[in-house]
């Protein structure tokens, strides 16, 4: 399964005047829904007696994420270490992940999350599947593997679609696929004994074109909410309600 080490979106600091974003003090975390994906992958791997490898591509700081992924249930982790300062878009990320998946032997199934909490581009999973030349099944909320056959229930808007394909396959999952339990102390301690490996991206032997971003970021501006923030915290509930209704009436938003 693939996971991403990202900045916590709630901790970005935005300068209200320039809208410049400072992510340096934001905590880093495994992208929220990747935690559900780890659990779904753990269950799927267990059901077919396979090893679960957690794979991430990221800067040196993603090392901390490796420990978290091991505690959450991956058996072994591979961290492809990005070059400092090099920007990776979906094109680069998919090429790197595909190269690393090919280096692992006998991979039957790769799980990615539908989208990451920073980019939410729904891009990496399907790109990766295509580069591997495997069947791709996206937006899955239930999956089972029997023999060499994958059966999955996809969420397509208000419809549920059940599909089947042969392994190997790439599946992207929605968070409803599994809960994301907080690892207990035993799992956290056990993680230290599990194997992990760091692979510099240069070791993958990819051509320059595969590791050069196709897009260039020319601007990145934070969002600043322009709201009044009238706080109604004190007094009896009825007083707060009366103040609110008076305000809403004045704003002209009640019918």
């Amino acid at each position: 399964m693939c996971f991403k080490w990202v900045a916590a979106e709630g901790e970005l600091r935005v300068d209200p005047a320039t809208r410049a974003v400072d992510a340096s003090s934001a905590r880093r975390k495994i992208s929220d829904y990747d935690r559900n994906t780890i659990e779904a992958a753990r269950v799927a791997a267990g059901s077919i007696g396979s090893e679960l490898v957690g794979l991430t591509f990221g800067g040196p700081d993603a090392r901390t994420g490796i420990k978290d992924a091991l505690a959450r249930g991956v058996d072994r982790a591979v961290h492809v270490v990005a070059d400092e300062g090099a920007r990776a878009d979906g094109h680069v990320t998919a090429h790197v992940l595909a190269a690393q998946v090919r280096r692992l032997e006998d991979v039957d199934l790769v799980l990615c999350t539908e989208g990451a909490s920073d980019t939410y581009a729904h891009e990496t999973g399907p790109r990766l599947g295509e580069l591997l030349g495997w069947p791709v099944v996206t937006n899955v909320r239930e999956l089972t593997v029997e023999g060499r056959t994958l059966r999955a229930v996809r969420v397509l808007g208000a419809d549920l679609e059940t599909v089947e394909c042969d392994l190997p396959a790439l599946v992207t999952v929605v968070p409803e696929v599994a809960p994301a339990p907080i690892p207990g102390l035993r799992s956290v301690l056990g993680a230290a004994k599990k194997p992990s490996e760091q692979v510099p991206v240069a070791d993958l032997g990819l051509p320059a074109g595969a590791v050069t971003a196709r897009t260039t970021v020319t601007s990145f501006l934070g969002y600043v909410a322009a709201r009044r923030r009238v706080v109604l915290a004190d007094g009896a509930a009825q007083d707060k309600v009366d103040a609110l209704v008076a305000g809403l009436a004045q704003d002209g938003v009640l019918r």
């Binding site: 979106e9 709630g10 970005l12 878009d89 979906g90 094109h91 998919a94 989208g115 909490s117 980019t119 581009a121 729904h122 891009e123 399907p126 790109r127 295509e130 069947p135 791709v136 099944v137 996206t138 937006n139 059966r151 969420v155 397509l156 208000a158 419809d159 549920l160 679609e161 599909v163 089947e164 394909c165 042969d166 968070p175 409803e176 196709r214 897009t215 260039t216 970021v217 020319t218 601007s219 990145f220 501006l221 934070g222 969002y223 909410a225 709201r227 009044r228 923030r229 706080v231 109604l232 707060k240 309600v241 609110l244 209704v245 305000g247 809403l248 009436a249 704003d251 938003v253 009640l254």
Partner: protein, 308 residues
């Protein structure tokens, strides 16, 4: 310049994309699956309609390689894909096959004078806006509702049928509809949004009663719909759900994570009711009511009714 190609498995969305494309290039080609779709799309004023045809009734995702092949053969500059679950997959896989740039759910697309392209998209679920540029072929997905469907009176774009091979490795076993409420939150004037802080089965009646008093639609956060199944999925607001533009949004027991709040950014007035004074929703509110929704909501419904 060889023009923009647009694709969506949903003909209505394809017609919207044709509008977006027409503002960017003189030549717009609409790619669709099946003769039925082509009939509506010839009225969009597109330069041409290309029907990809294959035996049986393959799923749209089966046409990925055919679509990428068409782009390559025709030297297309840009492919716009409707950002549905299917479109996300199709767009990303076509980009992989073309080894090209992809911008997911672009809000603004610009053709730069030097032949390069530029697009804006949100990052961190709406915490930031990123502008990206690229040259050479690219794929951009565009969410529904970004443009009015093109309809050019008297237009009858030439239709070209191209027989293609499809990828049948993924087989559809069944397809079922989940409960649909048929609600159109996007046009609601007032919205009462149920969060996990007011999501016990009995609580829905409270929210429903307030919605009734306000003449509002009931909406919810994602976990209320997807985890609890308390309300149909079309009723959840946010980056992966509905985008609403009401005069009034009232969040009941909603924490206010950005993935949710991005969905009602255009609301005229935002009210939050939450027990936690530090709830992130209060940072993007006009009125922050600190209190228990169980207590506040009935009082609020009564006070609103008292004005009638």
């Amino acid at each position: 310049m060889t023009g923009i190609y647009v694709f969506s498995e949903d003909p209505r969305l394809a017609a919207e994309l044709a509008t977006t494309a027409a503002a960017l290039a003189d030549e717009v080609h609409v790619v669709c699956l099946g003769a039925d779709a082509s009939r509506t799309l010839t009225a969009t004023g597109a330069t041409s309609v290309v029907v990809l045809e294959a035996a049986g009734a393959p799923r749209p995702e089966a046409y990925v390689a055919a679509l990428a092949g068409l782009m390559r053969d025709r030297g297309a500059d840009l492919l716009l894909v409707g950002a549905t679950v299917t479109g996300w997959e199709v767009g990303a896989r076509v980009a992989a096959l073309l080894d090209s740039a992809l911008v997911s759910e672009a809000s603004v697309i610009t053709a730069l004078p030097d032949g390069a392209w530029q697009a804006e998209r949100v990052m961190y679920a709406g915490g930031a806006v990123q502008t990206e540029t690229w040259s050479g072929p690219g794929v951009v997905t565009v969410a529904p509702g970004r443009a009015v469907a093109a309809a050019v009176p008297g237009s009858a774009s030439p239709v070209e049928v191209v027989a293609v091979d499809v990828d049948t490795r993924v087989r559809v076993v069944s397809r079922t509809a989940r409960v649909r409420s048929g609600v159109d939150l996007a046009s609601a004037a007032r919205v009462v949004c149920v969060g996990m802080g007011l999501a016990e089965p009995g609580d829905l009646a409270l929210a429903g009663d307030l919605a009734d008093a306000l003449d509002a639609e009931v909406a919810c956060t994602r976990p209320v719909a997807e985890d609890r199944g308390l309300l149909p999925t079309e009723r959840y607001i946010g980056i992966s759900g509905a985008h609403v533009h009401p005069d009034l949004y009232v969040g009941l027991g909603v924490s206010g994570q950005v993935q949710h709040t991005v969905g009602f950014r255009d609301a005229k007035v935002v009210v939050g009711i939450n027990t936690n004074p530090a709830a992130p929703l209060f940072a993007v509110c006009d009125y922050a009511v600190v209190g228990d929704a169980h207590e506040i909501v009935p009082l609020l419904a009564a006070a609103v009714r008292a004005r009638h």
